[in-house]
């Protein structure tokens, strides 16, 4: 489903540019659950941003199915990202002023899903993620684990083909982290392709494959 060929990312510094990713060749099949590991500054988040199509400033090729993402203009790349990718962040990034239900509805709104359909999908998601009782609460009224649960629900509500998770358990205690990983496994079992970044060996083992990054290079585990 995903193929990176010779992807390089650099930021301009003096006297020479600083490389964040070097010659990344990577293939991810549909239905895989891939974990990216590596020390801080290794380029994990940079890789995730490229995979999530938030970043178009790189060299090399990025194929998403049959689509050459690297050749897409920014607007079309954003459209493809909107329809195909869901993201989960370490800091949850829920909107503070919106309730749980409204946070879930946001991606559907941006995809111009009709209002009646949105209500049904939000209802399904609340049910599926056991958030019905919390639908009218604001994020600050939830625990960290519950907030990340909402974030995951929000990331998958529009049925993306790819779920990207940047240290999704980084702010959670171990029990909450395990619950999120179980949720990811369940979603992966339902056919969703997942790429996660984590520092936790235990959580990495939840995936089907682990790749390692160091100083921007893919390295053997």
């Amino acid at each position: 489903m995903i193929r990176l060929a010779g992807v390089e990312k650099a930021v301009p510094t003096r006297p020479t540019p600083t490389f964040l990713l070097r010659r990344i060749d990577l293939s991810i099949a549909a239905g895989e659950f891939v974990t990216v590991m590596g020390p801080s500054g290794a380029g994990k988040t940079t890789l995730l941003n490229i995979l999530g199509m938030l970043d178009g400033e790189y060299t090399g090729e990025y194929w998403f199915g049959d689509t050459a993402v690297h050749a897409l203009p920014a607007r079309q790349r954003a459209t493809l990202a909107r329809t195909s990718v869901g993201m989960v962040f370490q800091q949850y990034h829920l909107l503070d002023e919106l309730t749980v239900a409204e946070n879930l509805e946001l991606p559907l709104d941006y995809r111009r899903v009709p209002k009646s359909e949105r209500a049904a999908l939000v209802g399904d998601a609340l049910d599926r993620f056991q958030l019905v009782g919390k639908k009218d609460l604001l994020p600050r009224q939830l625990s960290g684990g519950q907030q990340q649960l909402v974030a995951v629900a929000r990331a998958v509500i529009a049925s993306p083909r790819l779920l990207l998770a940047d240290e999704p358990t980084g702010n959670l205690h171990s029990a909450q982290g395990r619950e999120i990983m179980q949720l990811f496994q369940r979603l992966n079992g339902e056919g969703l392709t997942i790429v996660q970044v984590t520092h936790s060996e235990e959580h990495a083992r939840c995936g089907s494959r682990t790749i390692h990054l160091k100083d921007g290079w893919l390295t053997p585990g």
Partner: protein, 802 residues
């Protein structure tokens, strides 16, 4: 307050030069504009007139019901009767002054010049209670033939023409070729009846030849002083029956002149500009308020940026009171520095304003910066401090210390609501001002685009006075006028020449009436509302006033019968349904005949509808002062030199006044509404700009605050357009609420502006909607700029910062 605190406050402001410069400039502009307008209000409305007990002085005229409230003048006989019968008045005086008409030619002191002169009776200076600055004024003993070759001059005359020579008293001044003894110089502040008056001459020098001294010819203005214990009401109660009695006793001359119009002199002098000036003061006050709101918002934003600093200070042991004191001190330094800068701006701007207002406002020469104005500026600084200083200081001084230190942020929802509230407030104030300014502009546009009934383009005009010396001979004077028009007509490119006693659109038609003997023997007395204009042949062609029927005057017109031309309105009034040309009537004892009917002209001013008017030839009704019109085939400015040469060829000593395009002179008739409108427009624009800056500031700050939220939305798939829309809609919500409140506010006060508008309704929905749309458009633009920036937020970096 301690010196270190003050030093720290100054250093804190210097450390943020961007904030300090913008806040200083905004407040200084607001305070400067207020100081300047207050200096005008003080000079025109608040400063005591240089009369003894000015509140005891009255201006007395006639109220004519048929013609609205007009200060109809008095005849000398009526003045004498008033003086004899009105015991509620301790003193009654009369004077003759008509701008552009009552003038004298000064010779023997440099170039001959034509100067405004007031002919005042022997009671004039005593009634006003004024003395000469040097020498003396004149009394009743000077105002008699044989003793009346004396002159009192204005302070400006003494400075300009006599080099402020203290030995000038007793010297001789040549006026119209006749020597007058200079007996006094008036104080600098004395500017009555008008600032342009430079000469005060005894009324008795005007003989029957100058103005018929008949009861029916009302050419005198009356000023009186209330007797001790008398009031305006008691004077009115006594003068009204007195005038009624005169109307009964002298029906031929006084019928319809039986009602007095009595107002305090101070109201008469400044009443017409009181409301516009107070409206301007209110407008400029609104500008200052908007400026304060803007700066208050800047202070709030600055406070937010300093919440971490405040938290550290609090953590180090500073009490909330200590923090508040420090912040208030910074606000005070800012406000009073702005007041000083504002005073400086006013000091530079007030002389310009005063010179612009010279011919527009009474007492414009007294507009200046003085200690009272400086105090006003200081008080404006205090007001600015109260508005901009207190709330932001209180908010900044109570940080949630722990939160601010942990998160590096300290922005509460209340602060953002306050920012939205400030935007709504300044939008409301700005729309209030914009509505007033837009209505005034629409009114001025209509006023200046009204058809006056004549064409002023390509016409040069000038004013001449044929008085004294050889011009005492009417034949010589008439030959001069005829020769002048003929010679001017010979200039290549001149297509028509003409002349009249009064300049166009300045009123002043002579108040004659004529009688029509109807077939049944009924006698109808007709007095044209706009009086009679005295004109020379060529007048109608030179001013492009069309004749509907009949003919122009010619040099061959004689008194047997007296020819007159009537306006269409007068023709309809006097001979309804008939052809007026050829109709006969009685003008005094003489028979007259209508020789032509001219289209209507707004002789009483652009704002007054064209009233019935008659025209009589100057060859028969000779007048010493007259205005000349020279119509040219192209741009008239190039003819000015040749016109001057022709005049001086005929008389090298003839002073020429007001030589220039007629369009400028007509524009001068609406100089007052133009000045007020331009000032109001400038304040409206300033308010618009300040409101837009306010919206920009709030939105830019909001975008900065919502950077994380925008990043999340974009990461979740929000399009750039939807981010822009979200930001702009939020900003416009506050602006729209403010605009709606401002419109409601304007409708509540629209009564105030109604009387000042010409053919524009104060509630005109199109104009008010236009003003609101202008503000919303400005707010939209102001919000769009930072919103566009918001749409460029890089979600990666926005989320990473978090």
């Amino acid at each position: 307050m301690s010196m270190p605190d003050l030093r720290y406050a100054v250093r804190s402001l210097v450390r943020t030069p961007g904030f300090t410069v913008v806040a200083l400039a905004t407040l200084a502009l607001g305070i400067g504009a207020n100081t300047a307008i207050f200096s005008v209000v003080r000079a025109v409305l608040l400063r005591d007139y240089p009369f003894q007990q000015p509140d005891r002085l009255l201006q007395i005229g006639h109220e004519r019901v048929a013609q609205g409230r007009v200060f109809g003048g008095f005849s000398p006989q009526d003045v004498d009767d008033l003086r004899a019968g009105a015991t509620q008045l301790s003193s009654v005086s009369s004077y003759f002054f008509m701008p552009g008409v009552s003038t004298r030619n000064l010779s023997g002191v440099g170039e001959p010049v034509n100067l405004s002169a007031a002919m005042v009776d022997g009671h004039f200076f005593g009634t006003l209670g004024v003395s000469a600055a040097s020498g003396r004024t004149f009394g009743s003993s000077d105002d008699v033939p044989g003793a009346n070759r004396v002159v009192v001059v204005s302070h400006a005359f003494w400075r300009t023409h006599l080099a402020a020579d203290p030995r000038a008293i007793g010297s001789t001044v040549q006026l119209d070729g006749t020597p007058f003894i200079l007996i006094g110089v008036m104080p600098r502040a004395f500017a009555f009846p008008n600032a342009e008056v430079q000469l005060f001459l005894p009324r008795s020098i005007l003989t029957d030849n100058d103005v018929p001294h008949r009861r029916g010819v009302r050419w005198l203005n009356v000023v009186a002083r209330l007797a001790p214990g008398a009031t305006l009401q008691s004077a009115q109660a006594q003068v009204a029956p007195l005038l009624e009695r005169l109307a009964r006793d002298f029906p031929e001359s006084n019928e319809g002149w039986g009602r007095p119009a009595i107002v305090p002199l101070t109201d008469y002098l400044s009443g017409a500009v009181r409301m516009p000036l107070l409206a301007l003061l209110a407008a400029v006050g609104l500008v200052l308020l908007i400026a304060c709101v803007n700066v208050a918002h800047l202070m709030l934003a600055r406070g937010l940026a300093r919440s971490r600093e405040m938290a550290i200070r609090a953590a180090l042991g500073a009490s909330p009171g200590r923090l508040l004191r420090q912040l208030l001190l910074e606000s005070a330094v800012l406000a009073f520095a702005s007041a000083g800068l504002g005073l400086l701006l006013a000091w530079v701007g007030v002389p310009l304003l005063a010179s612009t207002a010279t011919d527009v406002l009474p007492r414009a020469s007294e507009i200046r910066i003085d200690p009272v104005i400086a105090t006003f500026s200081f008080l404006a600084g205090v007001a600015a401090f109260l508005v901009v200083g207190i709330v932001p200081a209180v908010r900044t001084a109570r940080p949630a210390a722990g939160a601010a230190l942990r998160e590096g942020r300290g922005q509460s929802a209340g602060t953002h609501r306050l920012a939205d509230g400030l935007v709504a407030a300044e939008s409301g104030l700005a729309v209030l001002l914009l509505c007033g300014a837009t209505l005034a502009l629409a009114s001025l546009w209509r006023l200046t685009h009204v058809d006056p009934g004549l064409r002023a383009d390509n016409v040069i005009t000038m004013r001449l006075l044929l008085k004294g010396g050889r011009y005492e001979d009417e034949v010589v004077a008439q030959r001069f006028r005829t020769d002048l028009l003929a010679r001017l007509g010979e200039i290549p490119g001149v297509v028509a020449t003409g002349a009249s006693k009064r300049a166009p659109l300045t009123g002043g038609g002579e108040p004659y009436s004529f009688r029509i003997i109807r077939p049944a023997g009924v006698v109808d007395t007709i007095q044209p509302v706009a009086g009679f204009q005295i004109v020379m042949p060529g007048y109608f062609k030179a001013l492009s006033i069309r004749l509907k029927s009949g003919r122009e005057f010619t040099a061959a017109d004689t008194t047997d019968p007296t020819p007159i031309i009537v306006s269409q309105a007068l023709a309809s009034q006097a001979w309804p349904g008939q052809d007026a040309v050829g109709q006969r009537f009685l003008l005094g004892a003489d028979e007259g005949v209508v020789v032509g009917v001219a289209t209507d002209v707004r002789h009483q001013g652009l704002a007054s509808p064209a009233a019935p008017v008659g025209y009589v030839p100057m060859a028969i009704f000779q007048r010493s002062a007259f205005n000349v019109y020279v119509r040219t085939s192209g741009s008239p400015l190039g003819f000015i030199g040749r016109i001057r040469d022709v005049v001086h060829d005929l008389d090298p000593d003839m002073p020429i006044s007001d030589l220039g395009p007629l369009t400028s002179q007509i524009a001068g008739t609406v100089a007052q509404p133009r000045l007020f409108t331009l000032l109001l427009g400038a304040f409206g624009l300033t308010a618009l700009l300040l409101a837009a800056i306010g919206v920009y500031g709030v939105v830019a700050q909001g975008v900065s605050r919502r950077r994380r939220e925008i990043g999340i939305r974009m990461a979740l798939g929000a399009r750039a357009a939807s981010v822009v829309r979200m930001v702009v809609v939020h900003a416009l919500r506050a602006t729209a609420i403010g605009t709606a409140l401002g419109l409601i506010g304007f409708l509540l006060v629209s009564k105030v502006v109604r009387a000042r508008l010409y053919e524009v309704r104060a509630t005109d929905p199109l104009i008010l909607a236009g003003a609101a749309l202008i503000l919303l458009a400005a707010a939209l633009l102001a919000a769009w700029l930072p919103a566009r920036h918001a749409a460029r937020v890089d979600p990666m970096s926005a989320l990473r910062v978090e």
